[in-house]
């Protein structure tokens, strides 16, 4: 690399001396920065493993070499980062401080690498976005059409991802914007206005409840309820069942189903009622709203904090509009009362 730099310097020899000097400094600087990032990565691994041997193994390098590099980083920074002992390595107070800052630097560096990679692949103008499962075909279709109409030439790379995956990808910089369901992990994310997607029940046409235009939630007590798998979004799964309980429905059992075919099958088999947002009924089943819309999924657009460029804004606004018009989503219902309990420990 050094030789390459020298060659390049020779190549530019005909230009002004100032230009050469700036270029030399810049290259030296970039070397330092690259080196710093690399050394910080080594340091982070040792900090995570609390052990030089294990860290070296993870980094697939020799332990003496790793030790030397950490020592060099400590020399450069002028502080001791780790306390070494026979049992391992623990962070010094200065080490903890450097580690926190290093995380920010390394995350930013990863973003930079990802951004450059996209430029190379010719994808820089594409908005990478995602929708959660079970948003409804009509809503997804309308969102794609509306975005295309409003952003001529702008490409939308839309994927279906569960909320937790979206949050992780938004943070990692592999996703620009998403439509998430709450509860959604919030650190580092900004949310658009919250919409409520009412849940209803999918029933067999032969079900006695199917004759009612609206189903009282309590009428589902003692029935088998079909819901998406808990592992997909544990907090939403629990919140959904708690909302049912709040309105008088304690199911006999909760059956987990991912795809619409299986949901349909369980409902057709008799007895089970599926909790799903409004969807066009398949033969043998009917969808009925729950009276008063007591069970809703809260949904909003999300993007990484401070990264709401024009394309992200357009996506968020378009999503908000299409979800209201095509997915039957409602703006916040009347504010719910909250009675804090002593066990919650904080006063309201």
């Amino acid at each position: 690399m050094c030789r390459h730099a020298r060659q390049r310097n020779r190549h530019h020899h005909g230009r002004s001396k100032t230009h050469i000097a700036i270029k030399a400094i810049a290259e030296h600087l970039s070397l330092l920065v690259m080196d710093l990032l690399l050394h910080l990565r080594y340091f982070r691994t040792v900090a995570e493993e609390e052990h030089f041997g294990r860290a070296a193994e993870r980094l697939r390098m020799a332990q003496p070499s790793l030790s030397q590099r950490i020592q060099r980083l400590e020399r450069e920074l002028g502080v001791r980062l780790l306390d070494r002992s026979s049992r391992g390595a623990t962070l010094t107070p200065a080490g903890r401080l450097v580690l926190t800052e290093a995380e920010h630097l390394l995350t930013a560096a990863d973003r930079l690498t990802a951004a450059v990679a996209r430029v190379h692949k010719g994808e820089a103008g594409t908005l990478r976005a995602a929708v959660p499962p079970r948003l409804g075909g009509a809503a997804v279709g309308a969102l794609l059409i509306a975005f295309r109409e409003r952003s001529p030439g702008g490409d939308l790379d839309l994927r279906e991802l569960p909320t937790a995956r979206q949050a992780a990808e938004l943070t990692a910089g592999t996703l620009d914007a998403g439509i998430v369901r709450h509860p959604c992990p919030a650190p580092g994310l900004t949310f658009g206005p919250v919409l409520h997607q009412p849940l209803g029940v999918l029933l067999a046409t032969t079900d006695p409840l199917a004759s009612l235009p609206e189903i009282p939630t309590a009428a589902l007590t003692g029935r088998d309820l079909v819901l998406f798998p808990r592992a997909e979004a544990p907090a939403l799964h629990d919140e959904t069942l708690t909302a049912c309980a709040r309105h008088g429905c304690t199911p006999a059992d909760v059956l987990e189903a991912t795809g619409p075919d299986f949901v349909h099958g369980l409902v057709l088999s008799g007895g089970a009622a599926a909790l799903v947002p409004h969807s066009p009924p398949e033969p043998g089943t009917v969808w009925r709203p729950l009276r008063g819309n007591p069970v809703t999924w809260r949904t909003s657009a999300a993007w990484p904090q401070g990264r709401d460029g024009p394309a992200v804004r357009l996506f968020a606004d378009t999503a908000h509009e299409t979800l209201r018009t095509h997915a039957g989503m409602l703006t916040a219902p009347s504010t719910r009362m909250v009675f804090p309990r002593p066990a919650s420990e904080f006063p309201l």
């Binding site: 309590a218 007590t221 003692g222 708690t242 309980a245 709040r246 008088g248 429905c249 304690t250 719910r336 009362m337 909250v338 009675f339 309990r341 002593p342 066990a343």
Partner: protein, 298 residues
């Protein structure tokens, strides 16, 4: 298919919830405004344990409303001679001075035995029992203070705490025999709570204010592992008082929904296991209560 809210179906589901947690139980749940109710062994006498503090606090506020005492009156609480207990003044080390109503708050918030006994001593057991009788609750009787109750436990177990998990010892505890300890019935305890929520406990010119403060105090219990666990809803208010003795886990309280529905519920359980820590048994109290309340709301 039987309607899920038919009395038989409700009893079956509640009994199943008790059985599943390894306990047997008695329950009474009543709609405070309509009087509709569900019950299981609702008229069988049961040792009340700390649930009896409800009777104590209700009596305190009734006496205050009748002008017989001042809730602000301070009591000196010396460091020595406190009734045993793991919380509140019973666990604290130094002398203190608190008003009658703040003692009531401690007795409800953390089931403070010292605070409760200071009130029992101030009012007298007879006054508490007479107050219950005046409210028509003739089968609700306090035979002893908290300190006297725990003295019977110590005597019957030979003074070794570990003996209280020995099934043979537990079987002979006087504290578990309603005839020989503080007792009531599920129906009478919900009757007391109904009276508290219908402004029937505090008569007189300022009765309303006393009644409101009484309900506030009854809403201060710090733990939520039993009755409140069955109603994990931000917009539902749960006021309750627990009671526990070896194998016994109780709670009685009021559940209020934002649509105005309010229900008094009393759940008294007895576990087969003598284990002191049984979270499943605690949670079953809330589960049973919600089955009953859901049925009343259906």
């Amino acid at each position: 298919m039987t309607a899920p809210s038919s009395p038989g179906a409700v009893r079956t589901r509640i009994t199943a919830a008790f059985t599943d947690a390894g306990i047997t139980g008695q329950l009474h749940a009543v709609d405070i405004d309509t009087g509709a109710s569900h019950g299981i062994d609702a008229d069988t006498l049961v040792p009340t344990a700390s649930v009896h503090k409800l009777c104590l606090i209700a009596t305190l506020y009734r006496q205050a409303a009748l002008g017989r005492l001042d809730l602000r009156q301070p009591l000196d609480i010396p460091a020595e001679g406190r009734s045993p207990g793991a919380t509140g003044l019973a666990a604290m080390r130094d002398a203190a001075r608190l008003s009658l109503r703040d003692l009531a708050t401690l007795a409800v918030a953390v089931s403070d035995n010292t605070a409760a006994d200071l009130l029992f001593d101030t009012l007298g057991l007879d006054t508490v029992n007479q107050c219950m009788a005046d409210l028509g609750l003739t089968r609700t009787v306090a035979r002893h203070t908290m300190r006297e109750l725990y003295a019977t436990l110590r005597e019957d177990s030979g003074g070794t705490p570990a003996a209280l998990t020995d099934p043979a010892v537990v079987a002979r505890l006087r504290a578990l025999d309603p005839a020989r300890t503080n007792h009531s019935t599920p129906r009478e305890i919900t009757g007391l709570l109904t009276a508290a929520w219908r402004d029937d406990i505090c008569p007189g010119e300022h009765g309303q204010e006393y009644a409101e403060e009484l309900r506030t105090v009854l809403g201060l219990q710090a733990w939520s592992h039993r009755l409140a666990a069955g109603f994990p809803f931000d917009d539902v208010r749960v006021s309750g008082k627990t009671g526990s003795l070896p194998t016994l886990r109780h709670e009685a309280g009021v559940v209020e929904y934002p649509d105005g529905g309010r229900y008094a519920v009393a759940v008294f359980t007895r576990a087969a296991a003598t284990t002191v820590t049984l979270p499943a048994a605690d949670a079953a109290i809330g589960r049973a209560a919600r089955i009953a309340v859901d049925a009343l709301r259906a």
